[in-house]
Symmetry: C2
Subunit: 361 residues, 2 copies
């Protein structure tokens, strides 16, 4: 076990240090952590972390809320390419908190009580107090539901980037996506609508798919089809007056990706950002040669790593403004920290299809 | 049957016309043509075409040689997106001929005996005489074997464009391709070598694959693997000192495409230009998301249509210069026009693996 430097001091010296720099020590933190990779319900545990020293540029944040994202689960399982070092890795990658204390030389315009998010999203948001350099925190508006501030940096940002990074879209254009009920999917529909772009949406066949269609249409979806509706020869005949889409978003793979490809216009691009079916993407060679279709991929982490922190923050502000204006919403369920295990089970799909689980600390 | 205007005249008037404009009528032409789509060996027939009038800007060319390309066969079968109108469609799309006669107002620097090729490649090269506007003809050097001049505009040009259009390659870089024994494959190896670019080549397992490997290495291939050699966990361990390729060319699909993808470096691009196995391309979603792999397509016809005739001709000259310098060669078999049926059978693969069939008129 790696101990923070303060814990290497003798108890007496620790007390002395705390007295001398009393404003520079965080409260003890309660965290959800893991020492080895594996099934989250088996390897995760709640642990008390001792108070941490604040460097002069550090900000101590009392966390308010943090979601359980699929990528958090993949990191714990060890199937994600980027993972925190073990042991004592704290779960979670995004969230919102309130400034609790500031190091003596913090220059950012931050006051106790301000809402901040780690930006870029970073490891270890499933805990009650976090101490990190001021540059890691981005102040956000606090007049939106905290669940939105807690979840804005991963899924809504993915939706926004994908609409901007691959094809020049103009008002009146259309895009097509599968996995449309996912959080990214819901955001794509609404962000496209703000831009005047039509959406063609593909969802799974399941009990309640008619209700799911209605919900997506209320968010602004132009068309919503279940996969079985697309088992026809000419799916484009379903487009009606909508233009053929130049861009598609795939988070499923397998048949749902093949159906999406059928909608794309000549020269169109399909961007894969997830693989929920765990099946690969398959495309006939003629699509590449004669239809000039391109298949690409999107990974938020890579974009974030490309030193775009400032862009990232501007987009986060934009997204929270849309939330405030009522133009961006998605289903979430708040769970108290004490019921983390139940939230985890729901996030793992053990209670059927559930909204995004957001832990409130 | 659509008849050229001259054939609508009465025989007496035709004779009169020929006498008045004796230099403006082509010799009768013998052509391989078809009236309906279908299996080439069933629908193709040899027919005599009456003399054609030369307009004042027309050039009459006596064809010397023309290949039987897979895309020619696909056009006849009706499975190619661009096809000549029926009935009386003449086969073939590229070839070389000798200037036979010039219209009175031709401005191009052409003299009888010059070698010319239709550029861009166009329908109807399987005939002994062709009359077309001077702009359709590109004069080429006549000090190379005529089979090369006859075949330069489709396969070698495809290889050259694909090396230039997708990824910025620098000397020392590597590319990977499957179907490496194909004519495009052989050209890719040699053109890459001229540019100082290494090639990793994948070929089918078959009798004679060791000889095929030797032949490709003699052309300049750095590595040649049969598909079965790549049935290992870490294909990249086979790269040795070669860099991971940023670009791959796929003309097979199916397993051969999957094997190619395993070689690509992070951010790499696979370009599909053929589908010899008639199987689709399959890729795990993780390749797109975490490896940032792009799948694209190339179709020469589209590039040609993009008004790049001048670029096209410069590249044809460059390629024939390489042929003249002994830096570009590939296997071909000449067949006399009288044995067209045998050449067609070979091109259709009915006599096993055969070199490119080039008809000499």
């Amino acid at each position: 076990m790696m101990a923070p430097r303060s814990r290497l001091l003798s108890p007496a010296l620790q007390i002395l240090r705390r007295r001398c720099f009393s404003s520079l020590v965080s409260p003890a933190s309660k965290a959800v952590l893991y020492d080895e990779q594996g099934a989250p319900e088996q390897v995760l545990r709640v642990a008390e972390l001792p108070p941490a020293n604040l460097g002069e540029r550090d900000v101590c944040v009392r966390m308010l809320a943090a979601p359980i994202n699929p990528s958090d689960i993949n990191r714990i399982e060890g199937v994600y390419p980027v993972r925190p070092p073990l042991p004592r890795a704290i779960g979670g990658c995004e969230g919102v908190g309130q400034v609790h204390a500031l190091g003596s030389a913090v220059t950012a315009k931050l006051s106790p009580g301000d809402w901040v998010i780690p930006s870029p999203a970073t490891f270890g948001t499933w805990q009650t107090y976090i101490v990190k350099d001021e540059n890691m925190w981005h102040k956000v508006r606090s007049d939106v539901p905290m669940e939105y501030a807690a979840t804005v940096t991963v899924n809504p940002l993915t939706a926004l980037r994908m609409l901007q990074d691959f094809v020049q879209l103009n008002p009146g254009d259309a895009i097509v996506q599968n996995g449309a009920t996912s959080m990214v999917g819901q955001c794509v529909i609404q962000l496209a609508k703000v831009l005047g772009i039509h959406t063609i949406n593909i969802i799974r066949d399941r009990t309640g798919s008619e209700e799911a269609k209605d919900k997506l249409k209320q968010l602004g979806a132009d068309e919503v089809f279940t996969e079985s509706q697309l088992d026809i020869r000419k799916v484009k005949s379903l487009l009606g007056a909508l233009p053929e889409p130049a861009l598609g978003f795939n988070c499923v793979g397998g048949n749902a990706a093949s159906l999406l490809l059928k909608f794309l216009r000549h020269g169109g691009t399909m961007v894969t950002y997830g693989g929920m079916s765990k099946r690969p993407v398959t495309a006939p060679t003629s699509y590449f040669i004669f239809k000039d279709i391109s298949l690409r991929g999107f990974w938020l982490q890579k974009w974030i790593n490309a030193e775009k922190a400032e862009d990232c923050r501007k987009m986060i502000d934009y997204l929270l403004d849309l939330v405030h204006e009522g133009k961006l919403k998605y289903e979430m369920e708040s769970i108290p920290f004490g019921e983390f295990s139940l939230g985890l089970e729901k996030a793992l799909g053990k209670h059927g299809s559930q909204p995004k689980q957001v832990v409130r600390f």
